[in-house]
Amino acid sequence: MKSLLKPLLAVFLLALPAAAQAGTVTIKGSDTMVILGQRWAEAFMKKHPTIKVQVTGGGSGVGLAALQNGTTDIAMSSREMKKAESDKLRARYKAPPVQRSVAKDGVTFYVHQANPVSALTNEQLMKIYVGDITTWKQVGGADAPIVAYSRENSSGTYVFVKDMVLDGEDFAPAIQTLPGTAAVVNAVSKEKNSLGYGGAAYAEGIKELKVKKGNEEIAPSADNIKSGKYPLARDLFFYLRAEPTGDLKTFIDFALSPEGQAIVTQVGYFPVK
């Protein structure tokens, strides 16, 4: 049995640092952005076969912590960096972190396809989520309870909706929280009285809600989000330790190029340019 331990120990000691090798760009962070990062990486590596791009998720916080520790070159974040986080980076690298917004995410509310309601005001949404409105009848729909879904509090979307729609108030206790956009979309597509939110997503059986502002009903379309007309859009960020150079710059330029921004649309987000 002891002979089994020896090779294990040898491998253990031989393992060399993986991060920060030449010709490698490492990206870490927000789970909402992992797919986007991966698609960029895929397309980029096809064009530049000598440069390797490595993408991992874990969450915005994980990415920003890794940026500070030097284990990643780019931190993907679906929220703006908090002051405490940027202070730590500044203290360690003697320079403020660099922020690049690389895509826009339109937070979309979905209902079941068969729901006659097609637009809600920001205020109605807020009242539903804090628990003041509980039936569809109160917002012009059928006489049925609203089954509302939210995201887990670990998600950037949750924080965004809480700040922008709920004005910082807490979600009502009856609001169900699901661990991802797909889970929300899936649940909404199966239940005709449901309401949920998340990033732009596609599924049979769901309908995207428009947001009513005065008399206007604004759809979460690419144009409305780019122009800033749709009120519930947020930036998705890359954070760097310093102004990018070399391979890092090539990659970021690629992400912001028309080709890179076309990928953004494919993944379900919206271009910044």
């Binding site: 089954v147 509090n153 670990s154 910082g168 609001i175 929280t177 199966k190 009285n193």
Partner: protein
């Protein structure tokens, strides 16, 4: 261990080679004993290191303010007395919704799994023909081999519409669904341990009962089952422990709303699912982070107590059976 191989014969004079051999034997025995220590060490390290990360809650002034014990367990001012909203301007960290959610889901699963598990164990141990028995036992045990993430997935995709229309519920994801999916995970636990307890009942019990004119069912129900009762109780307690700690099924199927409601059609948020859902994004060292570890400590203590109870009971049934049978 009762085979008594450890009594080595003492020899008066030893050659150098023999002494070396004896030394080597001692070294091997020592090494093996040391290895046996790992189990204890692991258990101790688990509680120590999970508790260590939770300790900040009591030492750090900020954390003590944000998540004091009274905030965790007593009703708070405001619209809702018990909320779990740790990401908020004023974090609300009541454990009550999580306890209620965990218990609700666990009770539903026990309500289904206990009769199912015991009945199928009775069938396999007492009634099934030998052939069928040898087929059924491994097949039911195979259910235990399904990863819980697959059960959660199955609940999400297949069971949820079925359960919703069957019980006329408002929400597709709810305590009942999570409980039923969880029952699938703990039925094999209850089945296996109960079946072992039933088979351990000596044949003479059954023979005596049948000879007195009892039917097969009466023998099984009134003689064998009571004789195996502590073992079956232990099976249920083990199943309960497993249900309390199960994570992925509940995370995917319960809807995770932090409600304080005993309505089975309502959503529920469990302790374990809360850790799994929130740990990913939490800032290391923050009060929220310590809170999640504190939930881990609670889970550890619950299951530890349940396990001790279960193993005491199992010992009791063994003592009783061997004591009165031999």
């Amino acid at each position: 261990m009762e085979q008594g191989l450890t009594h080595s014969v003492a020899a008066p004079r030893l050659s150098a080679a023999a002494r070396r051999r004896q030394l080597r034997e001692k070294a091997v025995a020592g090494f093996i004993t040391l290895m046996a220590f790992t189990g204890i060490a692991a258990l101790v390290l688990i509680i120590v290191f999970v508790a260590k990360e939770a300790l900040t809650l009591f030492t750090d002034a900020d954390a003590r303010h944000e998540a004091s014990l009274s905030k965790m367990f007593l009703p708070q001012e405001g619209r809702y007395p018990f909320r779990w909203q740790p990401v908020s301007d004023t974090p609300k960290v009541s454990m009550i919704p999580l306890f209620v959610g965990t218990l609700k889901i666990t009770l539903v699963s026990m309500l289904v799994a206990v009769p199912m598990g015991i009945f199928s164990a009775l069938f396999v141990a007492e009634f099934a023909p030998r052939r069928l028995r040898e087929l059924l036992k491994p097949v039911i045990e195979l259910l235990a081999g399904i990863p819980s993430v697959v059960l959660g997935f199955f609940a999400l995709m297949v069971l949820s519409p079925m359960v919703k229309s069957l019980f006329h519920l408002d929400r597709p994801l709810n305590g009942t669904l999570a409980g039923l999916a969880l029952a699938l995970a703990i039925v094999p636990v209850i089945f296996t341990v109960s079946e072992d307890a039933l088979t351990a009942v000596p044949r003479s019990y059954r023979e005596a009962s049948l000879a007195l004119g009892a039917t097969l069912w009466e023998t099984a129900w009134k003689v064998v089952l009571p004789a195996a009762a502590p073992g079956i109780l232990a099976a249920c307690v083990l199943g309960f422990g497993r249900a309390i700690g199960e994570t992925m099924i509940v995370l995917m199927a319960s809807g995770n709303a932090d409600l304080v409601s005993w309505n089975l059609g309502d959503s529920a948020r469990s302790l374990s699912a809360t850790i799994a859902a929130e740990m990913g994004e939490v800032v290391v060292g923050s009060p929220h982070y310590s809170l999640l570890f504190f939930i881990g400590v609670e889970l550890f203590i619950f299951t530890f107590v349940l396990n001790m109870v279960a193993s005491t009971w199992t010992k009791k049934v063994l003592q009783r059976l061997t004591g009165s049978a031999s």
